[in-house]
């Protein structure tokens, strides 16, 4: 990891981000940028930013980008990719963006086997708007709109996006990763890399779900937040590869 820590990827601007201390968005940006550098595709990458804490991702990534309406990034990316089939097109979306308001767009982009990559940042909360309940919020989890904890009776169970999308035929690669330890960061980067490689070789839709912390709205220190992720999120959202057409063909 030494070189990773000391050199900034070309695909990332050398400016401070607006993310809260300890937030995983910054790490995930960095992993995406490193993959784009390693694949040498910065010149042909077109990113789509979400509405959520990563709304300003276009200020940090050093390649062409579009800012989409809340949840619509997969539809926007579809439009881009159909114009530039050779480009590396990806969306970067939070769990409110992707699993609530944008549920139809992500499911159908996946079902069409749209040749795009989605980086799905699941922090079990609406970060940007100040910590409301998301479709991924855990049962019992307190948020500003579930002040008594998420109620199973009225809100149902949190959606497992990777498992759900893996039931479709369109996706080529679906994995859930985390960036809580150096080892997991390496696995996350490998998954992101594969999700771009399979897009570029025309295999189909690729998604990497990254379990992520929101210390600010979880009301925890970054360290406490990582512990909470490990003890509560990982059991409900098991890490692993849910679909891989390359492995399946072996």
């Amino acid at each position: 990891m030494a070189e990773v820590l000391f050199s900034r990827p070309k695909a990332l601007f050398d400016i401070p981000t607006h993310y809260c201390p300890g937030c995983h968005h910054g790490i995930i940006h960095r992993l995406v940028a490193e993959v784009i550098d390693e694949l040498g595709i910065q010149e042909k990458t077109i990113g789509v930013a979400p509405v959520g804490c990563a709304v300003l991702a276009y200020d940090y990534f050093n390649f062409d980008m579009l800012e989409a309406a809340h949840g619509r990034a997969p539809a926007v990316a579809t439009g881009v990719k159909r114009v530039h089939p050779d480009a590396a097109v990806f969306t970067y979306q939070g769990d409110g963006d992707l699993a609530a308001i944008g549920c139809a767009e992500i499911v159908h982009a996946a079902a069409r086997g749209e040749k795009i990559t989605t980086i799905f940042v699941n922090n079990a909360i609406y970060g940007m708007t100040g910590g409301q309940m998301a479709p991924t919020t855990l049962v019992g989890q307190v948020t500003s709109t579930s002040p008594y904890g998420r109620n199973l009776e009225t809100a149902g169970m949190p959606i497992r996006v990777s498992e759900m999308l893996a039931t479709l035929d369109g996706p080529a690669f679906i994995a859930r990763v985390a960036v809580n330890t150096p080892a997991n960061m390496n696995k996350a980067k490998a998954a992101i890399k594969k999700a771009f490689e399979l897009q570029l070789s025309g295999q189909g839709f690729c998604l990497v779900e990254v379990l992520s912390i929101c210390p600010t709205n979880w009301g925890k220190t970054p360290l406490e937040a990582v512990k909470w992720l490990e003890e509560n999120m990982v059991p409900h959202y098991p890490l692993g590869v849910y679909k891989d057409v390359q492995e399946a063909a072996k």
Partner: protein
Amino acid sequence: MSEKVLMKGNEAIAEAAVAAGCRHYFGYPITPQTEIPEYMSKRMPQVGGVFLQAESEVAAINMVYGAAGAGARVMTSSSSPGISLKQEGISYTAGAELPCLIVNIMRGGPGLGGIQPAQSDYFQATKGGGHGGYRNIVLAPNSVQEMADLTMLGFSLADQYRNPVMLLGDGVIGQMMEPVEIKENNTRAVEKPWAAVGMHGRAKPNIINSLYLKANELEDHNNRLQKKYALMRGNEMRWEEIHTQDAELILVAYGITARIAQSAIDIARENGKKAGLLRPISLWPFPEPPFVRLAKTATAFLTLELSAGQMIEDVRLATRDAKPVYFYGRTGGMIMSPMEIYQEITKILDGKEGK
């Protein structure tokens, strides 16, 4: 194609779009415009283009946003309830200044309404149907030929101003068959150095965006947009006049209603009643100059719409209420006959109608 062929209005739009070099179509089925996606699904593969049936009108307009942002000449089409779903995307497209053509073949409302023709989306189309205060150029064809011609013009204007253009038709012209000539591509080719196409050696990334978090920057952005809209007002007003020079009563109508009004005027003239037609072709920018001029020579105006009265507000603004502005409309898919209009003309000109 340069000879005349018999086509439905909806098909003429689709073929004219192909002739104009549009190679990306995103849509969702809804009556009475479904001929457009059906035609495109057949035609686009023949010309190496993309037809994509989206999961919803919401997705379709966002695909348009992506394709337009990536530099393509792109369109979508729908009818009233579907156009309501597109409003979020239209606002983003206007905010990010992306050129595209949006077709609305109007049907009756509100709500699910009906599938018969109407003109009740005038407010939505011309006043900014989505949030935030923006303008689309809105073109209103009254024949199958104009469906084709204004489609081509729409693509030119969209590129020229980096702005969404709406073609506002009604179910009658959409479904009606008439001889039409699909002209050679007469649109301007415009460079799009701003598009998100991948940097390919460019020093700085291109960003397609409508977000300005600082109030002063958003105001600057709005001021720039308003300047552009003022330019459109100056350059892009379009209208047609028939028998207006000596007319005492000016009928104001667009789309299919203007065709019916023309027949009513013929009956009126045969009966010695001086009626004329002022037909706005651009609904936004609304063509004010002829109203100002005719308000000096005519004694009254009669606005005709397949709605309960929407364009009439612009007619009153344009004439500065200098002369009485009467209204006659039908709704729900009911269509007025020339005789109905003639009776209105008679009432006004024989002085039986109080203002």
